[in-house]
Structures are given as structure tokens and as C-alpha cells.
């Protein structure tokens, strides 16, 4: 790959993660990449205009007699035995909560715990990182900038918490997978503990928003918290 090819790729998609060999040998292209990345941050901020309050128009009555209920969508992965072993305790916790039927969420912490129930497949032990493009899609520049100090990110999905789309990430901790929820619109004044039978976590205030970090019961979260807080910058 030469400079022209590399710059074309970067200008098309600043999160492009190929051309590593060229990048390591070319200081000019490294500088160009940084410039384009900074440019994209500015573009994202400029595009993120304020949104007026939602007004629902008068909706006509619809004949629902012929409507067929949607099939439930659920995505399952083939897990390794290692993943099964590492998440067995958490799965038991999840199962117990699921049996409970409909759950209301009086607090943000409760909703977060409930959300973990819905994506147990995210919690697998793996050393396979999410590729940069996927990460850029889930954590777009319009939401936050994340540097590579966050840790080994093995899962990235856009989810909904409190009616807002948020990035749901998983990194690999010492004791197993650790869930990271970036909550730019959920301000908390002080750290809010998240506790369950097999998990421990916290919602940390970060800038005008917060970040939820939830690991297994015996996971030491302090170092992870510091890395995450240092690696996340809200865009708005």
C-alpha cells in the first residue's frame, strides 16, 4: 500500500484499520490519519444539532385484526466450553431473574441489571477483539471518542437504556467478561453501586454523563474503572 491508497482509505473512513505496515513506516500518513480523525470529531459535533421535542401527529385508526404477532428475535452464538464455564454463574443469575417475569425498573441500576439479562451471549471469554470499524459504528464520533486504553474490547452493540441508544461494550477482565455501558445522557452525581448475587459494578459519573461497569462478583474493577474513565471523552 502506498501513501495515496492509504490516504484515500482514511479519507473515506477514518476508522479504517488496514495498512498497518505502511502506517508504521510513514510519519506523514500517521499525521494525516490524526488530522482526519480530528476532522471527523468536528464533523460529528457539527452534525449533532439540537432536536425539538417529539410531536406525534394525529394517527388514524388501523385495522389490526389481520396483524400477525412478530416472532421473537434472539441471536445465539456457538460458545466454547471455556466461555460456558466462565459465564455459568452469571447465567444462573440471569435465569433466576428471567423466571421472575415482568420487572419494573425504578432506578437506572435496575434497568442496567435487567439489560444484562437480555444479552447473556455478550459475556463470553475470548481474546478476539472487535474490529475498529465495528467499534466506530457502535461508538460513533458523534457520541464519544474512545482511545485504545480501554482494554481488550470483545463485544460492541448498540442497545437501548432508558429510551436512548447507547454503546454496550464488553472487555475482558481478570475474572471474566466485564460489561461497559456508555451513558452520555445519564448524569449521576456520585458513583452508584450495582450489586447482584454474582456481579458487582458501579455507575460512575463521567463529564455530563456516566459509564456503567459491571463484572463478575470477584472482579477487581478499580483499575478497569480508571482505564475506562481516562479513555472516554463525550462528544457533546
Amino acid at each position: 500500500m502506498n501513501c495515496e491508497d492509504y490516504r484515500q482509505a482514511i479519507a473515506t473512513e477514518p476508522s479504517y484499520d488496514g495498512g498497518g505496515a505502511h502506517l508504521s513506516a510513514c510519519a506523514d500518513c500517521r499525521e494525516f490519519r490524526e488530522e482526519m480523525s480530528a476532522l471527523d470529531q468536528k464533523i460529528a459535533r457539527a452534525l449533532t444539532i439540537s432536536v425539538p421535542e417529539l410531536r406525534i401527529p394525529d394517527l388514524p385508526a388501523i385495522d389490526t385484526t389481520g396483524v400477525v404477532p412478530l416472532a421473537a428475535h434472539r441471536r445465539f452464538r456457538t460458545s466454547t466450553w471455556l466461555a460456558v464455564a466462565a459465564t455459568l454463574v452469571l447465567a444462573a443469575f440471569v435465569g433466576i431473574r428471567m423466571i421472575g417475569g415482568n420487572v419494573t425498573y425504578p432506578t437506572l441500576a435496575d434497568e442496567i441489571i435487567a439489560h444484562l439479562d437480555h444479552e447473556p451471549y455478550a459475556l463470553r471469554v475470548t481474546d478476539e477483539p472487535v474490529d475498529d470499524r465495528r467499534l466506530a459504528k457502535v461508538v460513533p464520533a458523534s457520541v464519544a471518542a474512545m482511545n485504545h486504553d480501554a482494554g481488550l474490547i470483545t463485544y460492541a452493540q448498540t442497545c437501548v437504556i432508558n429510551g436512548r441508544k447507547i454503546p454496550h461494550l464488553v472487555i475482558q477482565g481478570e475474572q471474566g467478561p466485564v460489561t461497559i455501558l456508555l451513558l452520555p445522557d445519564e448524569a449521576v452525581g456520585t458513583p452508584v453501586p450495582i450489586e447482584g448475587d454474582s456481579i458487582n459494578g458501579v455507575i460512575l459519573p463521567v463529564g455530563g454523563g456516566s459509564v456503567a461497569i459491571i463484572g463478575q462478583r470477584d472482579e477487581k474493577l478499580e483499575a478497569i474503572q480508571q482505564n475506562i474513565v481516562n479513555s472516554v471523552t463525550w462528544s457533546t
Binding site: 484515500q8 479519507a11 473515506t12 473512513e13 477514518p14 488530522e35 482526519m36 476532522l39 471527523d40 468536528k42 464533523i43 460529528a44 459535533r45 457539527a46 452534525l47 449533532t48 444539532i49 432536536v51 425539538p52 417529539l54 410531536r55 406525534i56 401527529p57 394517527l59 388514524p60 385508526a61 388501523i62 389490526t64 385484526t65 396483524v67 404477532p69 412478530l70 428475535h73 470499524r133 466506530a136 459504528k137 457502535v138 460513533p140 464520533a141 458523534s142 448498540t158 437501548v160 429510551g163 436512548r164 441508544k165
Partner: protein
């Protein structure tokens, strides 16, 4: 499920969807039309159309793409109906100016102005990629373009914005 329950369930589903995706719908409409008032009209029409055809959305995972496609079509219909003239950036109506409302951050102001000046063909794929998180394949699908054309437009859009931000005088703007 009786008819009343089905209607209530349908309404709940609609409210949940638009509650989540309304900001994306509005921002997409605003950058397509470059006018906040038109964007609000387009979103209203889009919500109505989404409500009527909600049962055609079989997979919630596709909801965002489905809603943005509706917004795109409604925006095109709006301009077909009105046969609006091309906007001259130096002669804006108050509602067009509202999109470029002055920010305390002048650099942000300049960038918004530069994006506003981009040709529609360049601005739209950039909005879809940067703001909506779309892949180039998804942009091509929504805009009816081959991937090569999407790549070219994104590349040119960024270089144009970079040039404008590096040298505002060259673009005819006041530095």
C-alpha cells in the same frame, strides 16, 4: 389477543420505536433539507407513513434503516411538491439560518457552515456515515449507489471540508 389489545400493542410498539429514533429522523431530515422547519414537516409526514405501514416492519433490528428510508422518501416528496428553488447560502430564511445557529464555538460554526455548503450528493453520505453509523454498503443501499460511488463521495466530502477548514478564504468565506 383481541382487537383492542392489538391496537394498544401496536401503538406501544410505534411509540417505543419513534421515541428511540426520532432524533436520528430529525437530524437526517434537517441535513437533507438544510432547513429546520422543513425537517419538522418531513418528520411529521414520515411518522404518519411509518404508523400506517408499521406492520410491514418485521424485524426491529431493521427499524432505524426502515425509518430513515421513509424520511428520505418523504423529503424527496416534499421537494417535488414544493418545487423549491436551490438554496443560496448567502440568502437564507430564518428557518434555514436556524440550522446554522451561532454557537459560542466558532470552529463548530465554521464546520456547520462548511457542511451546509456541501453538495447534497456529498453531504448525505457523510451524514449517514458519521451521524448514523452506516457502513458504506448500507449507504449505497439507501441511496441506490454502488459502493465505489459512495467511497468517492465520502472521500471528496472530507477533503472538501478539510480544505475549507484549513483555508476558509479559499472557499469564499470570511476567515
Amino acid at each position: 389477543m383481541n382487537s383492542s389489545d392489538a391496537a394498544a400493542s401496536r401503538r406501544r410498539r410505534f411509540d417505543e420505536l419513534v421515541g428511540v429514533y426520532h432524533p436520528d429522523m430529525y437530524r437526517y431530515a434537517a441535513w437533507l433539507s438544510r432547513d429546520r422547519t422543513i425537517a419538522e414537516d418531513v418528520v411529521q409526514e414520515s411518522l404518519l407513513r411509518a404508523w400506517k405501514s408499521l406492520d410491514s416492519l418485521r424485524d426491529e433490528v431493521a427499524a432505524k434503516h426502515w425509518l430513515l428510508t421513509i424520511v428520505r422518501r418523504e423529503n424527496a416528496r416534499y421537494f417535488e411538491r414544493r418545487r423549491l428553488d436551490t438554496v443560496d447560502v448567502d440568502d437564507l430564511t430564518p428557518s434555514q439560518e436556524a440550522l446554522l445557529a451561532n454557537e459560542p464555538d466558532h470552529e463548530l460554526d465554521d464546520m456547520r457552515d462548511a457542511i451546509y455548503r456541501l453538495d447534497d450528493d456529498y453531504r448525505e453520505p457523510l451524514v449517514l456515515q458519521v451521524l448514523m453509523g452506516y457502513s458504506t454498503n448500507e449507504i449505497g443501499e439507501l441511496m441506490g449507489l454502488r459502493q465505489g460511488a459512495v467511497l468517492t463521495r465520502l472521500h471528496r466530502a472530507r477533503l472538501k471540508l478539510k480544505d475549507e477548514m484549513d483555508d476558509p478564504a479559499a472557499s469564499g468565506r470570511q476567515p
